[in-house]
Amino acid sequence: GQQVMQIPQYQHVQEGEDFTTYCNSSTTLSNIQWYKQRPGGHPVFLIQLVKSGEVKKQKRLTFQFGEAKKNSSLHITATQTTDVGTYFCAGSPSGDMRFGAGTRLTVKP
């Protein structure tokens, strides 16, 4: 079954609102990666987190890795229509990456 759980499955926001997706694992992860898949496209790597409690920022995107290395989040501040897509987390509990089911973000202009 799915070793990495991701919520919510869908999120619809008004442009300018914030957005957060969460990723949880029952086991400790050695690292976590985040990917974005635009509609009709393929997943594209965004970032990797390795250290406990790590926080990384990319412009309006903030990525966090939990202290116990079992959860992670991606937060987008002031969403834009270009943020539309599905965001996946991928965790490595035992050397092989396992993807969450993804959060599909739609943004209303």
Binding site: Q2, Q6, H42, F88, S92, G95, D96, M97, F99
Partner: protein, 114 residues
């Protein structure tokens, strides 16, 4: 730029047919992966390979096999296609190091089995 190519964007096959999905990467990556993507289920790992002639089962290998005769090429084989194998198939590659590096994805093959 890393380029991962897949042999077809769309494929329609009949139940019982043997299906070959080809994936080629041009960055000399050791690691290659096959996933299937279904709505609500995300990307599920079918098989992966860390080296030529080497293969490992992922989470859903039943009904599939793979071949890695050359470093740049990783083939997914559906021995006898069934309708429940209708899906989007994504190939990916990454540099060596288990789970440590980003994966580069191909454009995907949307397979329909009728």
């Amino acid at each position: 730029d890393v380029k991962v190519t897949q042999s077809s964007r769309y494929l329609v096959k009949r139940t019982g047919e043997k299906v070959f999905l080809e994936c080629v990467q041009d960055m000399d990556h050791e690691n290659m992966f096959w996933y299937r993507q279904d709505p609500g289920l995300g990307l599920r790992l079918i098989y992966f390979s860390y080296d030529v002639k080497m293969k490992e089962k992922g989470d859903i290998p039943e009904g599939y096999s793979v071949s890695r005769e050359k470093k740049e090429r990783f083939s997914l084989i559906l021995e006898s296609a069934s309708t429940n194998q209708t899906s989007m198939y994504l190939c990916a590659s990454s540099p060596p190091g288990q789970g440590a590096y980003e994966q580069y994805f191909g454009p995907g093959t949307r397979l329909t089995v009728t």
